[in-house]
Symmetry: C2
Subunit: 174 residues, 2 copies
Amino acid sequence: MSASDPCELPADRKRGSNFGWSLGMVLRNWHERVEELLKDLPHGSRGYHILAVVVHEEVPTQAALAARLAIDRSVLTYVIDDLANAGLIERRPDPQDRRARRVVATERGRQTLAEAERRVAHAEDHVLGGLPEEQREVFRDLAARAAEAIHAAAPATDPCVAVRSVLPPTDQSG
Amino acid sequence: MSASDPCELPADRKRGSNFGWSLGMVLRNWHERVEELLKDLPHGSRGYHILAVVVHEEVPTQAALAARLAIDRSVLTYVIDDLANAGLIERRPDPQDRRARRVVATERGRQTLAEAERRVAHAEDHVLGGLPEEQREVFRDLAARAAEAIHAAAPATDPCVAVRSVLPPTDQSG
DNA sequence: AATCTATCGTTTGTTGAACAACCTATCTTC
DNA sequence: GAAGATAGGTTGTTCAACAAACGATAGATT
């Protein structure tokens, strides 16, 4: 109850400027929970994302996988290694292109993913516990749509955002 | 082999399972844009968050700052160093506690933040460009509320989430 | 007052992810 | 079959997160 009480300034001032912080907060919490839940899955949430795409989509190659998840190729290498070692997916030579590998899920991989998805869905409800239930879905949906749009327009650098200095001109007069 | 068709499970299942990915996507884009915009600000978005709290709130100490932003104390040290070197904030000895430092913004810091906030707000509209304008605010608001709730309940590890193995029992028969 | 413990801020070391650069094998084109 | 492009893999650098230890100081105990 001291003078340092945060409520002393208008709430919307604080609100407006911390969208990035809010996102980070939510994502971090999601990440913590999911990492905890998916300890057994190689590379935790990372492996989960990859496994999910492998199971749910017919992925042509590793390169396509990387593009779809917007992650670096070099990451895929070792995650897929470990996922494969765990018997969840397999790397099969592509008969049409001997450079390429087709990554396919094993039955065990499918089961594992199904279980993981159940848990993650549950965890997500906790992550969004601060929101009434109906708004959670709204939030997920908005996030998904915003993300899709960003992913569709890959080059994130937009020339219409002018880049000068944020700093005000140095006041040399003093 | 159409059995592996991704549509074999309800579409919302797929949606539901990449909430983390979506969040990551949006946050990454936010981060990229803001880093670009705030190149001149020491430590980019990090410095921005800290400066924002310093300017907008009467922050008792560095420790309080760390708690408010949910970041590690050790991060604050060097970011504040550089923010101070840039003349945006000052570290003043707390007269009541000589261990503590009061971090206050300079006039230049206030101006810089104001400009930075303008830019960030603009960038955020681009980040959420995939959403119709009215929904952007909904999204921000939901994110803010979810984040606040998470922040309020700091211990992210929730005992109600049982932690067993995601992996199905090893099938030794084949 | 002497001392013990907790706290503030700083420093250091470890870990893990992101990313770039380079390598090998293969495909495609000429 | 040589040249360049592409798939995948390896290595090394950079950076943020985090834990742990440290010096200085405050507050409590004796």
